[in-house]
């Protein structure tokens, strides 16, 4: 079957992606419900671009990322990926043997560099393992040369190759994780909260490194994060998730200055401004995030939305492109005048 993406520049396009986890109970493990962790998510990423995926904990952003890499098998939907040879394949349904050669094109950077590195492997083995497994470089000497080159790329000294992860600080460890991800020259890098476990003075170093590597290697990032300042800083476009659905996608500045979804507005106003002279009037968001196992009817955000009208509790809004490249899932998107940052 032939697949088409949005246009020629699109590296990844996700269409109506769903991932439901069954809830089983009792002796017979009867199915009593579904956790709709990801429930019909659609977005695209152009080559060389950074798309930020933001949302609060439990909104399904990590599950989305894991489905794209097929660390989880999606329940439904398409994950269209333009391979290095220019062909568009659907990762969602690809069998493992066809997926394997594509694995090198998609890599992951994990959140916690203290948990994602094996303490009993030295840098040569950690960064060299993908070279051995995927590229089949058997000679240790040849691998060491390649590893040295990659370590230099991420700003680590090749002399460190024999050392073990415990000898490195958090920021250096995250560089190692990045080096491992880049060992096979991937085209798409999925970074799941790559700086949230780091100290603030080290965060900037890693963010700079990621931007520099992107320019040099023409990388495409899917950047999953909850910290809006970090997302604003590094992303070209941002997608906002709420209880398994996308509520808004727009170019970064457009989203931050002119949000069109009430949830995005509330998120923006909740970010504490690092300026004591602006003690912002945070829009208090009442109540809690609903459970993805038992979401409210209609728009999932309506019980907490201060603009909600009757239709919001009856019909779920679709994600629509209301301006060029600005997608919103809100019944009132056309009429609402919402406040962005600094507004």
């Amino acid at each position: 079957m032939k697949h088409t993406t949005r246009d020629e520049r699109t590296l990844l396009e996700v269409k109506h992606l769903k991932k439901h986890f069954p809830i089983r109970k009792g002796f017979l493990r009867r199915l009593v419900g579904q956790v709709k962790a990801v429930d019909g998510v659609s977005f695209y990423i152009n080559e060389g671009e950074t798309l930020g995926l933001v949302g609060e904990s439990g909104c399904g952003k990590t599950t989305t990322a894991r489905c794209i890499l097929r660390a989880l098998d999606p329940t439904a939907g398409q994950i269209l990926f333009r391979t290095a040879s220019g062909q568009v394949v659907d990762l969602a349904t690809l069998p493992e043997n066809e997926l394997r050669p594509l694995r090198r094109e998609m890599q992951m950077i994990f959140q916690d560099p203290f948990a994602s590195l094996n303490p009993r492997m030295n840098l040569l083995d950690i960064v060299g393992e993908p070279l051995l497994v995927i590229e089949g470089i058997k000679s240790r000497k040849e691998r060491a040369e390649r590893v040295a080159e990659i370590l230099r790329l991420v700003g680590l000294r090749p002399e460190y190759m024999q050392r073990f992860p415990h000898a490195f600080s958090g920021g250096q460890r995250q560089r190692i994780v990045i080096a491992r991800a880049l060992a096979l020259h991937p085209r798409l890098v999925v970074a799941d909260e790559p700086v949230s476990a780091l100290d603030v003075s080290v965060q900037a170093q890693v963010l700079n490194l990621m931007m520099e590597l992107q320019q040099r290697l023409n990388l495409t990032y899917l950047f999953v994060a909850h910290d809006l300042s970090v997302v604003k800083h590094i992303c070209n476009r941002v997608a906002v998730m709420y209880v398994g659905k996308l509520v808004e996608t727009a170019p970064t500045d457009e989203l931050f200055y002119h949000p069109k979804h009430p949830y995005t507005e509330a998120l923006m106003s909740a970010v504490p401004v690092a300026d004591p002279r602006i003690r912002s009037a945070m829009i208090p968001l009442e109540g809690d995030v609903p459970s993805p196992a038992n979401p409210p009817p209609g728009c999932y955000f309506h019980p907490r939305c201060r603009y909600a009208v009757d239709i919001c509790s009856q019909e779920a809004p679709n994600l629509e492109e209301i301006e060029d490249n600005h997608f919103v899932a809100c019944h009132r998107a056309h009429e609402l005048k919402l406040r962005g940052i600094g507004g």
């Binding site: 003075s201 965060q203 700079n208 300026d275």
Partner: protein, 349 residues
């Protein structure tokens, strides 16, 4: 001087060290600051800078092998807590001299100085109801019977904005959402009307919209009760929103102190300046390279000699910064800085 202008807490040259087999970790190494009634003091710093150990020293809950090796922690208890003040001239007790498990310290901890810990999930017991845990605190510190304690507990839960407080008294901590759990924790901390509240990264484990709720709540409770708060965080945005006075810590020492507006708009210490610049903000331009602080925080066993920040400092002067440790000195009416760019006072060894 009226009692309102006298600090409620005055920490003088506090040193808390951890004695490990591998060596001594100087977690807090000569820290002095005051907290005035009704003031919100923010302590900022990155992990390992000693901000938590500082407040744990004040509460006398530093775990072994750590202990306070020097310094004083003067605290002014309420008038009614008279027995504590035996032998004291000016209404202060030195918490550093009290027995950490002794009766005096237990009368202060929880009743006069309360703590909101970072992880409410870990701080509540999962096998007791929220109500039982709040009532336990009340019964311990106040002369009330169980019925009265229950009524007070419900009142506290209502005060922090928990819906259906009567039912929530019977709930277990794991039945509540992150935001409600943190509210319940605040209710418990406030159950005995402390004069000093210590909030140790109270919003780090929760989401940004919940964080906004909790910050708004703390702000309004602080004004209602005229409490003093020591607020610890590594998030400069949170500090800017809640603190009046800021202490900037690095490797167990204070780098700079001052009113929040001066710290953010007129930072003096190279560390404060670099820290403020290196943080991405929603107001800076997207996709620009951030100024960074070179290197990383040294391992606690390899503390650099001299100024602890000198190996990462862009304005480091060889022969001075790497040999002498600068003292925290007032450099203008508001701010104090420990840096040789502004004064020459060094620690004598």
């Amino acid at each position: 001087m009226s009692s309102e202008q006298r600090p409620i807490l005055s920490v003088r040259d506090l040193k808390t060290y951890f004695f490990l087999d591998e060596g001594t970790v100087k977690a807090v190494d000569g820290v002095s600051f005051d907290v005035y009634p009704g003031q919100v003091v923010g302590i900022v710093g990155e992990s390992g800078c000693g901000k938590s150990v500082t407040v744990r020293s004040v509460l006398r809950i530093v775990e072994k092998p750590g202990r306070i090796v020097a310094g004083e922690i003067f605290f002014r208890p309420r008038k009614g807590n008279g027995r504590l003040l035996e032998g004291s001239q000016d209404g202060y007790v030195d918490l550093a001299r009290l027995d950490a498990q002794g009766r005096e310290m237990r009368a202060i901890r929880g009743a006069e100085i309360a703590l909101i810990p970072q992880e409410p999930m870990a701080a509540f017991s999962p096998v007791h109801t929220i109500g039982d845990q709040i009532m336990e605190t009340i019964l311990l510190h106040q002369a009330v019977n169980e019925e009265e304690a229950r009524r007070l507990g419900i009142e506290r839960l209502r005060e922090v904005g928990i819906p259906n407080p009567e039912q929530r008294m019977e709930a277990y901590s794991w039945e509540l959402s992150g935001g409600l759990r943190q509210r319940a924790m605040i209710a418990m901390a406030l159950s005995c009307h402390p004069t000093l509240l210590i909030a140790d990264e109270p919003t780090t484990a929760i989401d940004v919209t919940t964080q906004a709720q909790v910050l708004n709540l703390l702000r309004s409770l602080q004004q209602q009760h005229n409490m003093s708060i020591i607020f610890i965080t590594h998030d400069l945005g949170v500090i800017a929103q809640i603190a009046e006075y800021v202490l900037v810590m690095y490797l167990g020492r204070l780098m700079e102190t001052g009113p929040v507006v001066d710290i953010f708009h007129h930072p003096l210490h190279p560390y404060t300046r670099a820290l403020l610049k290196s943080i991405p903000s929603v107001y800076t331009r997207s996709r620009t390279f951030l100024p960074t602080i070179e290197g990383s925080i040294p391992h606690p066993f390899n503390r650099p000699p001299g100024c602890p920040f000198h190996p990462r400092c862009s304005q480091f002067t060889a022969g001075i910064c790497d040999q002498k440790t600068p003292l925290l000195q007032p450099v203008n009416e508001q701010q104090s800085v420990s840096c040789f760019l502004y004064h020459r006072r060094a620690e004598e060894d």
